[in-house]
Chain length 202, copies 2
DNA sequence: ATGACTTATGGCACACTATGACAGAAAAGT
DNA sequence: ACTTTTCTGTCATAGTGTGCCATAAGTCAT
């Protein structure tokens, strides 16, 4: 990795950290892009070259998670029931979280607090999920040998899986640490698996 | 109902219709508030008194549906299992759709086409759903005698119910009429009910 | 009807987000 | 060192959304 890329990555994280701190200090709405840019000493124009929008800051982690899920889904055996494969994908995100660095943990916990204090943002995050669900539904439909456009069950399978993930993410108490959060997420996943009829997703 | 209120309602619908037509003609992004206001001969400033934002136009129906669901939930017997009550609420939205006027049907079908051509908007709609889910989860937790903050199952129950509703709404073919859409939605609801283990939501 | 009261509207100014165009600086490859 | 590519800042501009104030329209007395 060249100097250029390293520098870019550093800037990107600096923006992210500065933004999260500002959001926690003075709220999301009342923080302007100009302030964020000022805090890391770049021009506002440059901010938009790193993040396509102010919202995008908050969706950063979501995008990372989606990539991971898509990857996992493709690597699971084709014969595996789709919901099972999806649950593996969700667990992959979970273990990625567990395996990340101290810095990333801090960033993640900050993000969580920001989301908690600005509920409209979790809406944004969920909105991003709509696209994710469509892409996952394509993969599920392929597994089931159906057409994603017309097969409602494929969509339902994905929707249920993402529901479990979302509930697991939002539900844990706000003040807990990383192990508590991942623990609760794991519980929710099991809860979802237990709630469904065996073979419902074939 | 006085002249004032009737006039307001008329303006509101005029704005909505003009906006949907413009969105279909030239796309959501490339339609400005100024154009919409111009089409119904009001000032842009007034537009924002009827709809808090451009997005709000699209969320109009969602808000109506949420009101209906909350109402239905409160009117169902407290002893009824929460998921069953939620499914009744979803069906209430469905029969409201079936029972509405020709004009409302046309409006609804237009909205559906707009959503289909501008996927980022269905994100917006789903985002609004995040708030809805939280409010519904409160009602479900009350039924189950638990605290919504800590009870993951309450959230999961609501999330599953809303998933069924969303899939039913989005999945039907785009060119179908109203009866086809409601029919497909009913199918999805039954599919969801069949997928879950009896008694999972107690 | 006339007047007083309330509410809706329009116009203006303004803050903020976001994007396009262009020129200069920094890094990469040769 | 030279060229090419990529990143950056400056400037200009479009569009959304809000506060404020004067005016117009609807409402309700007498």
């Amino acid at each position: 990795m060249g100097l250029r890329e390293r520098k870019k990555e550093k800037t990107r994280l600096a923006i992210l950290d500065a933004a999260l701190d500002l959001f926690l200090e003075q709220g999301y709405e009342s923080t302007t892009v100009e302030q964020i840019a000022g805090a890391v000493d770049i021009s506002p124009r440059t901010f938009f070259r790193y993040f396509t929008s102010k919202d995008h800051l908050v969706l950063w982690f979501h995008d990372h998670g989606e990539g991971l899920m898509m990857e996992t889904m493709r690597s699971r055996p084709q014969g595996e029931p789709p919901f099972t494969a999806l649950m593996h994908a969700v667990r992959a995100v979970l273990s990625d979280m567990e395996g990340s660095t101290e810095d990333e943990h801090r960033r993640f916990l900050k993000l969580r607090r920001v989301l908690d204090e600005n509920p409209q943002l979790i809406g944004q995050s969920v909105a991003r999920g709509a696209g994710t669900e469509r892409r996952l539904a394509e993969l599920v439909a392929a597994r089931r040998g159906t057409d994603a456009d017309s097969d409602q069950l494929s969509h339902l399978i994905v929707a249920f899986a993402m529901s479990a993930m979302r509930v697991g993410f939002e539900c844990p108490r706000r003040d807990g640490g990383m192990p508590e959060i991942t623990g609760r997420m794991a519980e929710t996943i099991e809860l979802a698996e237990r709630s469904l009829r065996p073979g419902w997703d074939l």
